[in-house]
């Protein structure tokens, strides 16, 4: 049978972001996959070099709408690493609360989307309805449902008022029974087993080879979690379990995320109940020349920020690496050899976030850079001219 090329993207109902997968099919079996990204490149790293450290915190918050706390968290840690500086304990707790709230809503969002991709729209709507409760809780805490703007280098911008805590705890508690039911509905459903078990297996070795991160690697039996390996925030203050499963298939990735949500609920509750008194800001006045890194466990895996300071109030170099950058290449290992109907859920199973991942680098096969910034600009101008000429615009 002749091989068919099946495009998924750049605009496709599968995922809401522009991404382009070229699936080569033999019948309904995928024999090759090619990923093309870059439709969404915004030049955040370059922009960041023109803004002060305080402004950049808001900028990196807008790298991604869903991990809107992971990026500022990692960025602030990178800036604090330049000094180096220890953040007040209360600020650490507040940061942890916000980060875990984000993990809960991100995992619920994924669970809903995964249900949608499988045509299970009831799970989709239920998970998203549940997510509303967490978004409400986050609104009580920060004033925003998303993009919380809570972080600043040296601490947090807003304190948590003691009178808000009972309401937040109630909201967080209220999701547990429904989450329990959703967990049972997903973990015990025989049809879901038939669809997800043994599908898109990422073996432990492959996971290590591709440097997969976050739930994607933990589902393959790689016990790797920044919160445990290199504790930051308040994660070393309480007991919690790192969820690791062994099979590496889509089902295990779902299980890891669902069980992690319960852990996140517990961490968030612990932090709210044991919020220590004290300062919330270390009041950084100046930054010495030097470099710093910050890495945190975002819902999708390790988010990494690097900051080079030259002693001014702006980063001389700022480098971001989002977890999806490492997770997306695992498609090569998981999708090839699978059925087309499974390909979509496998592509979704790493919870890819393309806007986090966008970057520009044009290389030839030997790995040498073909274009520098000036040449790219020239290309862009040339294209504008060409389009103008075609349209007859002066």
């Amino acid at each position: 049978m002749a091989k068919t090329i099946l495009p998924i993207g750049p605009y496709h109902p599968l995922q809401e972001e522009p991404e382009f997968f070229t699936l080569t099919l033999d019948g309904e079996t995928v024999v090759d996959v090619d990923v093309r990204l870059g439709y969404n490149h915004r030049g955040i790293e370059k922009l960041s070099e023109r803004k002060t450290f305080d402004q950049s915190t808001f900028l990196v918050e807008r790298i991604c709408g869903i991990c809107s706390t992971s990026h500022p968290f990692a960025f602030c840690q990178a800036v604090e690493d330049v000094i180096p500086l220890e953040v007040p304990l209360r600020a650490k707790y507040i940061r942890t609360i916000i980060a875990e709230g984000e993990r809960i809503h991100s995992h619920l969002l994924w669970l809903g989307l995964a249900g949608h991709f499988l045509g299970y729209n009831t799970v989709y709507m239920w998970a998203w309805k549940l997510r509303e409760e967490i978004l409400d809780a986050m609104e009580i805490l920060s004033g925003n449902r998303n993009n919380y703007a809570m972080f600043k280098p040296g601490g947090v911008r807003r304190d948590i008022k003691p009178e808000d805590i009972p309401a937040v705890l109630k909201k967080v508690d209220s999701i547990v029974p429904t989450l329990e039911m959703l967990k049972n509905a997903v973990i015990d459903d025989p049809v879901l087993h038939a669809r997800l078990k043994g599908v898109g297996i990422l073996s432990r070795q492959k996971s290590i080879d591709y440097s997969a991160l976050g739930p994607t690697s933990r589902a393959s039996g790689v016990a790797r979690d920044v919160r445990k390996d290199s504790p930051y925030g308040a994660y070393d203050q309480m007991e919690w379990t790192m969820i690791v499963t062994q099979n590496g298939d889509v089902f295990d990735k779902a299980v890891v995320r669902i069980l992690e949500t319960f852990e996140s609920v517990n961490i968030m509750k612990y932090c709210l109940e044991h919020l220590p008194p004290g300062e919330i800001d270390a009041h950084i006045t100046s930054l010495p020349p030097g470099e710093g890194i910050g890495h945190i466990e975002a819902p999708r895996g390790e988010t990494f920020h690097y900051v080079l300071s030259d002693g001014t109030n702006r980063p001389a170099r700022h480098k971001v690496r989002a977890p999806s950058f490492m997770n997306i290449p695992t498609f090569k290992a998981t999708v090839v050899g699978q059925e087309l109907s499974d390909a979509t859920i496998i592509l979704a199973s790493v919870d890819p976030c393309y806007c986090c991942t966008e970057r520009v680098a044009v290389r030839d096969t030997k790995g040498e850079k073909l274009f520098n910034g000036k040449e790219l600009l020239r290309l862009s101008w040339a294209k504008t001219e060409r389009i103008k000429k075609e349209l007859g615009v002066p």
């Binding site: 068919t4 499988l118 799970v123």
Partner: protein, 310 residues
């Protein structure tokens, strides 16, 4: 005169009444689905509004498509649904107007909508539509065998008649076929085949939006798409109607029986809605295995039971 009467049946019941009930049923389906999912759901007239809106849109024919086939396919499917519903209505409303072998005709005609979808999918020359069409083809091959086997059960139980009128007559005297052992099993098989014929979750692989963007229907737009939609909506009435006629006592207009008919119909629609809201989509090979394996076995057992008179 009889010709005029048949044309009347065709226009009034075959098209108009069927479409109205189908649209109402599709509204119930959407509303219940929405309530299950914490949504508000559409207003009563939404299915009609959707159709009217589609009728006002442009029909785009892709340049790579086979034009005649692309436009004819929905007409073929639509015509067959009208034919089936006219036969069923004529049978139910004027008893004795059944002709020999009309059960066979109906079973055949019920396969035509799927064929028209396959035709349209392949004619549109889109790779995603081709994938969808080939899935639909696999699905048809999978469910037709248990469906036909299950339809044999009422034939056997009512004394080897192929006339719908006689099957209903038998049930009027001896009680619904679904109340016998073989009949009950065959009814279950038929309901699941109906789900597949309607291409609803878990058997919606041919149209899977998130996998192949609507599959067979991807290139259709405007009035032609409206025709497909209307065809599906009418099937939402015709298929349960057929099942009620052959398994559950048929349509009788006197008093309590009419109420019972409405209850049976609403029950079947509710069952369809529940099934489609509590299941994820099956892969096409899993769906085939399901129909050729357990469903065929159950259908064969049902036929066996029917032969023994149970």
């Amino acid at each position: 005169m009889t010709y005029l009467m048949y044309i009347g049946y065709l226009v009034v019941f075959g098209v108009a009444v069927t479409a109205v009930i189908g649209l109402l049923a599709s509204w119930i389906d959407r509303k219940v689905t929405a309530r299950v999912q914490y949504r508000v759901g559409p207003p009563l007239l939404q299915p009609v509004i959707d159709l009217v809106k589609l009728l006002g849109k442009e029909t785009l024919i892709p340049s790579g498509a086979s034009r005649t086939m692309f436009l004819a396919a929905p007409l073929i499917g639509f015509a067959s649904v009208i034919a089936v519903s006219t036969i069923l209505w004529t049978n139910s409303l004027s008893g004795g107007r059944s002709f020999l072998g009309d059960l066979v005709v109906v079973v055949y005609l019920l396969a035509v909508p799927s064929m028209s979808i396959i035709l349209g999918g392949f004619a549109s020359g889109n790779p995603l539509a081709s994938v969808g069409a080939s899935r639909e083809m696999k699905l048809v091959m999978a469910y037709e065998l248990p469906f036909v086997l299950a339809c044999l059960v009422p034939v056997i139980l009512s004394g080897y008649t192929l006339k719908l009128g006689d099957i209903v007559g038998y049930q009027t005297q001896h009680g619904a076929i679904a109340l016998s052992g073989g009949g009950a099993l065959a009814l279950i098989v038929c309901i699941l085949c109906m789900q597949a014929k309607l291409a609803l979750v878990p058997f919606d692989a041919p149209e899977a939006e998130t996998e192949i963007c609507g599959g067979v229907l991807i290139e259709y737009s405007g009035p032609v798409l409206a025709l497909y939609r209307l065809m599906k909506t009418m099937l939402l009435f015709v298929l349960p109607f057929f099942i009620i006629i052959v398994f559950m006592g048929g349509l009788r207009l006197d008093g309590i029986h009419l109420v019972l008919f409405v209850l049976k119909y609403v029950g079947l629609v509710a069952l369809i809605t529940v099934i489609r809201n509590t299941n994820p989509r099956l892969r096409i090979d899993q769906a085939m295995r399901f129909f050729w394996g357990p469903m065929t076995v159950v259908a064969v057992i049902a036929v066996g039971l029917a032969l023994m008179g149970w």
